[in-house]
Amino acid sequence: MRHAVAPAENVENHSFTVTDLFKICTHCERLGKKVRERREGGRNRKKKKEKTAKRQLSDLGIRIPRPLGNGPSKFIPEKEILQISKVDSRTQSIFEDAFAALGRLDNISLVMGFHPQYLESFLRTQHYLLQMDGPLPLHYRHYIGIMAAARHQCSYLVNLHVNDFLQVGGDPKWLNGLFEAPQKLQQLGELNKILAHRPWLLTKEHIEGLLKAEEHSWSLAELIHAVVLLTHYHSLASFTFGCGITPEIHCDGGHTFRPPSLSQYCVCDIANGNGHANHHDDLLGNQDMCGEVEVLMERMKQLQECRDDEEASQEEMATRFEREKTESMLVVTSEDEESGPPRDISRHFEDPSYGYKDFSRRGEQVPTFRAQDYSWEDHGFSLVNRLYPDVGQMLDEKFHMVYNLTYNTMATHKDVDTSMLRRAIWNYIHCMFGIRYDDYDYGEINQLLDRSFKIYIKTIVCSPEKTTKRMYESFWRQFQHSEKVHVNLLLMEARMQAELLYALRAITRYMT
């Protein structure tokens, strides 16, 4: 917090550095708060300092940016997010590590802080992918991250990595658009597009095209690294939209120079539940939905019990998968209102109209992907670990972690076995990508996931940029925010695995 007082020499600089400073401030504050909480008054002193610093700055004629919206998420009240790290020392130490490693504590990590076990694994993987030894140069990695995030018009991730990209010495010209980047990266555009929206269309010819392109060709190891990065950022974009992550203060859209309006609150604050007038009218909504959790639990119990009684025939099972598949297509996600992405982000990718299309629509029948024939555990892992050592292990841990993560609670109920619910969510997502598990009865999905939840899942996974706060609120109303974040983690990892499986299968086919 001393940083805030120091910038006398920065005076001549423009607002960019000042916003950087404020980034450090706010991030420190998040960490500092918890430490200082014990020493009463420390916080006030700091606030005062900050204020005087601000006043000094404005005296010097520098415009001070003001954060737009409070807290890391538009959907979740700020105080609830910061609450966790205060209570849990483990979360706090993870935050500290993350801050020490990156010099920032981004909003994604803050929100994931609800689930420290997972966060640790996530950060370790991400750190390894971006910073540690690997086949791709550092600026390539960030650029690929930008490409992937831009595919979903996720300005949050794009901005974050534009900064990182420049920091590791990337050529600013590349940021004008993919056409300015080296040929090698341009070729990746096609893979990026297919992976993001219709991974089932990926064939070994695509891989061959990348690996055998004369001087611009990729090596297998580089390609695996790129594929892992692409899938990582596609799914992270899902998470970002799914949890309504707000822009960092130092990024575009994260701050404003407009003085606070008369009403003192901007729109985001209100939507956030941070304002005085708490518009989060639980009361009304809960009236008719009060039994939701109980109904869900009852259904789970029923499924558990009557599993053996009612023996579904094989055909029945097959049709159930098909039905779920087709039904997932009917879950329309306001698809038709084709609004072009904001100008500045669309330049990072080509063909902006290319989006998720349900794979068996219009007769183009793509064979179902059988999970038993190409699974992550048996096949995917071996391939990744062979070509990009250690990452296979980390991804394996991460998938394992998220699949098995449970606190045995549902809303207010304790000691609930949620494995069935988690499996239903996981398999539903894979089902949307055409991956079928022979040993799963897809009828369960219908029982456990209601329509609003399905809409939410489908939106997040297939076109995350269309997520709205209403969607977030309308599913599972009685559940806690941490549980909704948990769901988001499941969605994110399931999506990543699905994309990875398709990509790795194509690579395997190319290799044989």
């Binding site: 030894d133 055909e315 038993q372 048996d378 071996s382 062979r386 022979d438 395997t508 044989t512």
Partner: protein, 809 residues
């Protein structure tokens, strides 16, 4: 277990074994008598990828199962003949989608399959109808990975599933008789023991292997971790009851001895891909066959005692092999395999590739110091014995390694002889490299001085060409303004004499060493420290004595005497030694870090040394001129004014570039890099980045092999290639352990999470040491560098009060 029971069980087993033995005998005779099994390497196309195969007991038929295939083929002399398609019915059900299949080894008509949807199905070939499906068990919730019939019990079937359960079925009943829980870890393989009636092994996705008693479903008998990551398969040895082979995703095949209390790993084979199946080879105690799950399509047969090279390889498949099985349980010559490429193969062992035959049994390796080791087949060496590979004074030690020949081992016996050739020709030694690396100055002084210094160094090491090169570089690139001012005449003189003085005076010292250095030696104490600190010299044999005399200054004769002794052995090296001693102080100047640490004690010496040098320089000037190398040099200095003295430095760039390439090609990449660094911007643009990077990398690699970490680091730091400088930015994390509890410090900051104490506290000031920490290797106490230095000046004891007599040198 009560004793009687045990005995009865044992008896039973004996009985079973007896019976099996008799069976075996009879079968072998029939096999030999009627010559039942014969055939050749052959294959047939299946309609779909296979997941598993299994043979019937009499080895005449094989069943192939997969997602879209379930067929029985007869094995005939020349070909596979399709006998039966078990996949019947209009709508193929998921029950036909098999992950595994097993043919009963007692009952010819009985088959079991594991379906991907979690069903366990048995099939009775004796049924008259087209649909041979017999029983259907749908107790598993997830995919069933494996089914296994009991080897001797007709009705007992075991299954292992993804849902973490193993179930034992009695085929006369409608449902399972017992369920074994793997605590929700997925089961990848289950195998009944061939010899122990009640035992079966199960392998798990988390790397564990469990042993169960079929009568006790409540708890496993034994568990151990066999692999990191899933254990895909396991197989009991058909004859040796205690041996279990396991294969895992970690690319290893391990053989465990289960007879002892703790499962003991007795053999380990490292393959190149995750191991999907492992099968012991019949009648060959140490052989087993493996195939992999990904990437690698071959089938390997290993002799587990020779884990580095497969005994035999079958390379027919075009996609991963999914099932392997030996055709007959007492015939080691036929192997059947099914694959994802939709083929079914019968491999004849005699047609297998033997990688050993192709392996190159010769090995050749250069040692760091120019020694050469050569291993070759013994026969080659002995026939060559009369010829001396290296004429001259080379010493040769042929060593022969014999493995005790094992009659059961069918490997081609290769006994190799290893010869080590030592060079002691000066030209082959690498000493010059080490010394040059240590002594060269690459930065920190004006360009001209650097060149002079380096020329001097090269000259001392008797490398006149290199030395001359440095001097020439100095002349070429020195600031023309400096040269021009004194006028052409004077210029000539300066050019001629100055480098001469510097470069040759020490050379002279070197050549005229005998008397002088002996004189100096008799001075004793001043030289002594040199000897101690001199890195990598040939006094290594004296190290012990050195350490003893360390610190006490009264034994110069002792040292001297030893050196004398050495002279006899290393007569040719004496010369080198002397020069080294002369030069020794230079590294101190070159390396900042070193300098700081040994600063005080050695400072006076410096002066002395300098003083000693200076008179020589002046005194020998006259002599110098008559040394031969000077002629070549003076030529240059004379030719210099023929050109304009104002020639721009860039004029020489092409020549210098050629010169650098020449050195690099000659293998002296050290010279190329050193010149590159010293010249810096003057030459850098002339040479393309890739070449520069290449040179840097080679040089750094060499330096690191010689463990010259400081030099290599300096080179990295001074290099201008981004690819090189970033070498210093990788792996910069420093992991520290708490000094109290010895655990890693996970938290940031200096307080240990576990014992809540500050780590690495200075023993003098009791503050945390955040920079350089020095500690006594005797008592492991330490602290800030300067604190420790000051403390130990006044006291000999450890500042921590432990009573240890610490030494600071």
């Amino acid at each position: 277990m009560c004793k009687d029971k045990f005995r009865s069980k044992y008896k039973h087993q004996q009985h079973v074994a007896l019976r099996r033995n008799m069976e075996k005998m009879s079968r072998v005779t029939t096999a030999l008598g009627s010559n039942a099994i014969s055939g050749r390497t052959m294959f047939c196309h299946l309609d779909a990828p296979a997941n598993a195969i299994s043979v019937c007991r009499d080895a005449t038929q094989v069943v192939v199962a997969g997602r879209n295939i379930f067929k029985i083929y007869a094995l005939e002399e020349e070909q596979f003949v399709e006998k039966l398609n078990l996949r019947v019915g209009r709508k193929p059900s998921l029950n036909f989608s098999c992950a595994d299949v097993m043919w009963h080894q007692m009952e010819e008509n009985l088959l079991a399959t594991a379906a991907t949807n979690g069903a366990v199905v048995t099939w009775n070939l004796g049924k008259p109808s087209r649909n041979k499906q017999d029983q259907l068990f749908t107790e598993h919730k997830r995919t069933v990975n494996k089914v296994c019939f009991h080897p001797t019990e007709v009705y007992m079937l075991l299954s292992g599933s993804q849902d973490g359960f193993m179930k034992c079925f009695d085929l006369r009943k409608k449902e399972s008789v017992s369920t074994f829980s793997g605590q929700s870890e997925s089961v990848r393989d289950v195998q009944f023991s061939m010899k122990d009636y009640f035992t079966f092994a199960a392998s798990f996705e988390n790397g564990n292997v469990q042993l169960w008693d079929i009568r006790r479903p409540d708890r496993y008998e034994r568990m151990f971790t066999a692999h990191t990551g899933p254990v895909f398969c396991c197989d009991w040895h058909p004859d040796d009851r205690g041996w279990l082979a396991t294969g895992g995703r970690d690319k290893m095949v391990k053989v465990w001895d289960m007879t002892t209390n703790r499962a003991k790993e007795i053999y380990c084979v490292q393959t190149i891909a995750s191991v999907a199946r492992v099968k012991w080879r019949p009648e060959r105690k140490f052989h087993l066959a493996t195939c992999s799950m990904m990437v690698d399509h071959n089938i390997y047969v290993w002799d587990i005692r020779r884990p580095f090279i497969p005994f035999a390889t079958f390379e027919e498949h075009k996609d991963v092999t999914t099932g392997i099985v030996w055709r007959h349980q007492h015939d080691p010559h036929f192997l059947l395999s099914g694959s994802k490429d939709s083929t079914l193969y019968q491999h004849m062992f005699k047609d297998a590739t033997r990688p050993v035959d192709k392996a190159n049994p010769e090995g050749l390796c250069f040692g760091l110091l120019g020694d050469l080791a050569f291993a070759a087949k013994e026969s080659l060496i002995t026939s060559d014995a009369n010829r001396k590979p290296f004429p001259g004074g080379d010493r040769r030690y042929p060593m022969f390694f014999f493995k005790k020949p094992d009659p059961t081992e069918q490997f081609a016996h290769v006994s190799s002889a290893l010869s080590v050739f030592e060079t002691d020709l000066d030209s082959h030694r690498m000493d010059w490299f080490v010394k040059t690396a240590q002594l060269y100055l690459l930065s920190g002084k004006p360009f001209a001085e650097l060149c002079d210094h380096n020329a001097k160094v090269a000259q001392e090491l008797k490398r006149p060409q290199v030395s001359t090169t440095w001097t020439m570089l100095r002349i070429m690139f020195s600031d023309p303004a400096n040269l021009a001012t004194p006028g052409p005449n004077h210029n000539l003189g300066k050019l001629g004499t100055l480098p001469l003085m510097n470069s040759f005076s020490l050379k002279d010292l070197g050549s005229g060493m005998g008397a002088e250095s002996r004189l100096e030696r008799s001075k004793g104490e001043s030289r002594q420290d040199n000897i101690h600190l001199e890195p990598g010299n040939s006094y290594i044999s004296n190290n012990e004595e050195n350490e003893e005399t360390e610190g006490s200054e009264g034994h110069p004769e002792y040292m001297f005497g030893d050196a004398e002794l050495d002279d006899d052995d290393l007569y040719s090296m004496e010369h080198d030694n002397q020069t080294e001693e002369q030069e020794y102080t230079l590294p101190q100047e070159a390396f900042q870090l070193r300098h700081e640490i040994v600063d005080n004690p050695s400072a006076p010496e410096h002066l002395q040394q300098d003083k000693a040098d200076s008179p020589h320089v002046s005194g020998n000037e006259a002599e110098v001129t008559c040394l031969t190398p000077i002629e070549s040099f003076s030529l240059i200095s004379i030719s210099q004014p023929l050109f304009s003295p104002h020639l721009p430095a860039s004029f020489f760039c092409p020549i210098v570039r050629e010169m650098l390439s020449y050195y690099a090609e000659q293998g002296d990449v050290q010279m190329a890099v050193s010149v590159l660094i010293v010249l810096g911007d003057r030459i850098r643009k002339e040479i393309d980045d890739l070449t520069q990077e290449h040179w840097y990398m080679s040089y750094i690699d060499l330096l690191q092999r010689f463990e010259l970490w400081n030099v290599s680091n300096e080179v990295i730091k001074l290099s201008t290639c981004s690819a090189i400088t970033c070498l210093n930015q990788t792996s910069t994390t420093l992991h520290i352990n708490c000094s109290n509890c010895k655990r890693p410090m996970s938290n940031k900051g200096w307080i240990c999470d576990r014992c809540h104490q500050c780590a690495s506290v200075c023993a003098v000031c009791h503050h945390v040491v955040k920079g350089l920490f020095v500690w006594c290797q005797g008592c492991s106490h330490g602290g800030h560098l300067e604190h420790m230095m000051n403390w130990l000046k006044s006291s000999a004891h450890c500042p921590a009060g432990c009573g240890h007599l610490c030494e600071y040198t």
